[in-house]
């Protein structure tokens, strides 16, 4: 006999998603990058190198007097798979692994922070209504009017100086925290606004009233009745936000206000690639971080589209 087990909306979404070839392939690509980031130390160990070794000192025979790798294509060889970085001569392969790790770690932290803030303020505004809603909505409007890129660039040094005096060397973790903080500060509003709208609509639904008639506490209503119904916009929105944070972080590091040498970072590798020395001598250096980031961002955006379509088949193109 057929078991009378119902399919939840989530299961239906999963079934629809699995039918979407683009979505599944993108998901594998994205998962591959996260795996690479996660396993960077392990892979480096097997590969036998690390991103901090200055090969210009260790193996001077591989470089010319300017510090440019002697072998063609940026010194790509069976030993240095992605070549060597002009100047200090870091190993590009491990540097990219660790760079992906740093970038994804920061972006995931920003996403988690913004999603939590978005849920908290968005659901509060929508569910409570009245004064809290008015106040939160005005804050959202105000922050949305900020020019984000400019704000990031201008505020990074300010935030960093909150932690360390300008004369001291800035520890990496302070830069990481500052990067997360400034992106979080201007990152949560779009999700909060969406969740506010959803909660506002949900509040009018009769199943919320049914729960209240039974005496449910506000906490129970939010956690059991509202939150399960806003999972969809949260998931869709965060798959759109994360690649945005990756590029923003890369942009900041490229501009020199994010992660700096010698900490490996995806974006900071672009900054390196654009220096005079690398630009004029070793154009291949740009290839690996560039191509990998393009693949990552495109795959993630396609994934976002597929997730949205799977959740909401009506808007599918």
């Amino acid at each position: 006999m057929k078991k009378l087990e119902g399919r939840s909306p989530g299961q239906l979404m999963w079934i629809r998603f699995k039918r979407d070839r683009t979505g599944v392939v993108s998901a594998y690509v994205v998962a591959f990058f996260f795996l690479v980031g996660l396993l960077a130390p392990l892979i480096s160990k097997l590969y036998g190198k690390d991103p901090y070794t200055v090969y210009a000192d260790e193996r001077p025979e591989l470089f010319d007097s300017a510090g440019v790798p002697l072998q063609p294509n940026g010194g790509i060889s069976s030993q240095f798979w992605f070549g060597l970085e002009p100047g200090n001569g870091y190993d590009v392969f491990t540097k990219l692994l660790y760079g992906i790790r740093t970038s994804l770690m920061i972006s995931v932290c920003v996403t988690i922070a913004t999603v939590l803030t978005g849920i908290l303020l968005g659901v509060a505004a929508g569910y409570l209504g009245g004064k809290p809603d008015y106040f939160i909505s005005r804050v959202i409007d105000f922050l949305l009017a900020f020019p984000a890129q400019l704000f990031f660039i201008a505020s990074m040094p300010v935030v960093v100086s909150l932690f360390v005096s300008p004369t001291d060397e800035t520890p990496t973790y302070v830069r990481v925290v500052a990067l997360i903080a400034v992106q979080w500060f201007l990152g949560w509003m779009s999700l909060a606004r969406i969740l506010r709208g959803t909660s506002l609509a949900l509040r009018e639904r009769e199943f919320i009233e049914a729960a209240r008639v039974s005496g449910a506490s506000p906490w129970r209503i939010i956690s059991r009745e509202i939150l399960p119904n806003v999972v969809t916009p949260i998931l869709v929105q965060s798959t759109y936000m994360l690649p945005g944070f990756v590029t923003a972080e890369a942009g900041l590091s490229y501009l020199g206000v994010g992660i700096v040498e010698p900490t490996p970072d995806w974006g900071q590798m672009f900054s390196k690639a654009s220096t005079e020395l690398v630009m004029s001598n070793d154009i291949t250096y740009m290839f690996f971080p560039g191509v990998s980031m393009i693949i990552f961002i495109v795959a993630f955006n396609l994934l976002g589209d597929s997730v949205r379509d799977a959740f909401d088949p009506k808007t599918a193109r």
Partner: protein, 370 residues
């Protein structure tokens, strides 16, 4: 819409209602503030959704509340279930004043007053299984039935005519009528003494309406639950209610037992509503030539209701007195005991055809002639 509504003939074996009042509502009022103005929003008026109504529902009684859409029926239901805070008046349940009781104070009686909602698509959480939905109220109130919550849910599903094996299904797998049955099961889960049913069938297909009404009627009779049954026409509540109140623009304008309202109505508005009920079989023997009244025009705005009698803008008997003096809801001469009417110039207590149809709107009248 209700043309095909087939309801069983009233079973006169309806259990006698004990005389004890369960719910007493006095002068209940709800005014929703209307905000306006720029840049500073302030209260510029009030929607007088419910304006001083009195009603009593006795233990085990089914009470019908009828009126056009927008007259304040849902607001009344939500005030009684304390989803809304009354602006004025008093709600007494089982002798206990619950007008402004907080959630904590209401806790002991929460299980006794339940609600069935109008829209079967919005009244069930799409993310919860039927089992979760129906056991939710038991969980909230910490009730642990003898056979376990799951056993109780299966039992309830059976009572409302659903397959108990559908325990793990989600609402989107059910039809409107089935969803409404789930809503009924949820309301029954706490073994309530009073159920407020806010137009429980008006969102359903006509063919399904009768089934759900029959289910409610069975539940009402067999479990002895008092019902406040809200409807927008008199057809649906006819066989269901011991007593019926007719609402217009936030006021009760006529109330009485079923027979008084359906066969001896006095208020012109009740006459109009009854004439709109298609094919109400008036008892089994008499097929009377029915009166026909077309109510023209819209219901006036509850923000600025007419002075005096609120029905006067659409009433064919209105006179000067109706504009200046609000008619009290009283037992006017010719009414049986318990039959109250708020009208200065009531109609004859009959629903037989008049010499002439009353068609108020000139445009409508022209249409009738051609």
């Amino acid at each position: 819409m209700t043309e095909d509504l087939v309801l069983p003939a009233p079973r006169d074996a309806a259990p006698e209602v004990s005389g004890d009042p369960l719910l007493v509502v006095e002068g209940l009022t709800k005014h929703f503030p209307v905000k306006g103005g720029f840049p500073i929003r302030r209260t510029v008026g009030a929607v007088q959704a419910v304006d001083g109504i009195d009603l009593t529902v006795h233990v085990g009684e089914s009470f019908g509340l009828v009126g056009e859409s927008g007259c304040g029926k849902s607001t009344t239901g939500r005030l009684i279930t304390r989803l809304l805070e009354p602006s004025a008046g008093k709600i007494t349940y089982s002798g206990q004043d619950i007008t402004h009781a907080s959630r904590k104070q209401l806790a002991p009686i929460r299980s006794e007053i339940q609600m069935i909602f109008q829209d079967p698509y919005s009244s069930l959480n799409p993310r919860q299984t039927v089992g979760k939905i129906i056991s939710g109220p038991m969980e909230i109130n910490g009730i642990q039935p003898a056979g376990g919550r799951e056993g109780r849910v299966r039992e309830l599903l059976e009572i409302v005519g659903l397959n108990p094996e559908h325990y793990n299904r989600f609402p989107h797998e059910f039809s409107g009528g089935q969803r409404q049955r789930i809503g009924v099961a949820r309301a029954l889960a706490l073994e309530p003494k009073l159920i407020v049913a806010d137009e429980p069938v008006s969102a359903l297909d006509v063919s399904i309406q009768a089934q759900v009404v029959n289910l409610l009627q069975e539940v009402q009779r067999e479990l002895g639950i008092a019902f406040l049954f809200i409807a927008h026409d008199l057809a649906v509540v006819r066989h269901f209610s011991h007593r019926v109140a007719v609402m217009y623009l936030g006021k009760i304008i006529e109330v009485g037992d079923r027979d008084s309202i359906y066969t001896r109505p006095r208020h012109p508005y009740t006459h109009a509503l009854l004439s709109a009920v298609p094919e109400v079989n008036l008892g089994d023997d008499e097929t009377v030539g029915r009166e026909r009244i077309r109510l023209a025009g819209d219901v006036p705005s509850p923000i600025n209701p007419p002075t005096g009698c609120r029905f006067r803008t659409r009433c064919w008997k209105a006179q000067d007195k109706c504009a200046t003096e609000e008619p009290p809801l009283i037992q006017i001469s010719g009414n049986l005991a318990g039959h109250l009417t708020a009208c200065h110039f009531p109609e004859e207590p009959t629903i037989e055809a008049r010499d002439e149809d009353i068609v108020l709107d000139p445009a409508l009248a022209a249409l009738e002639e051609s």
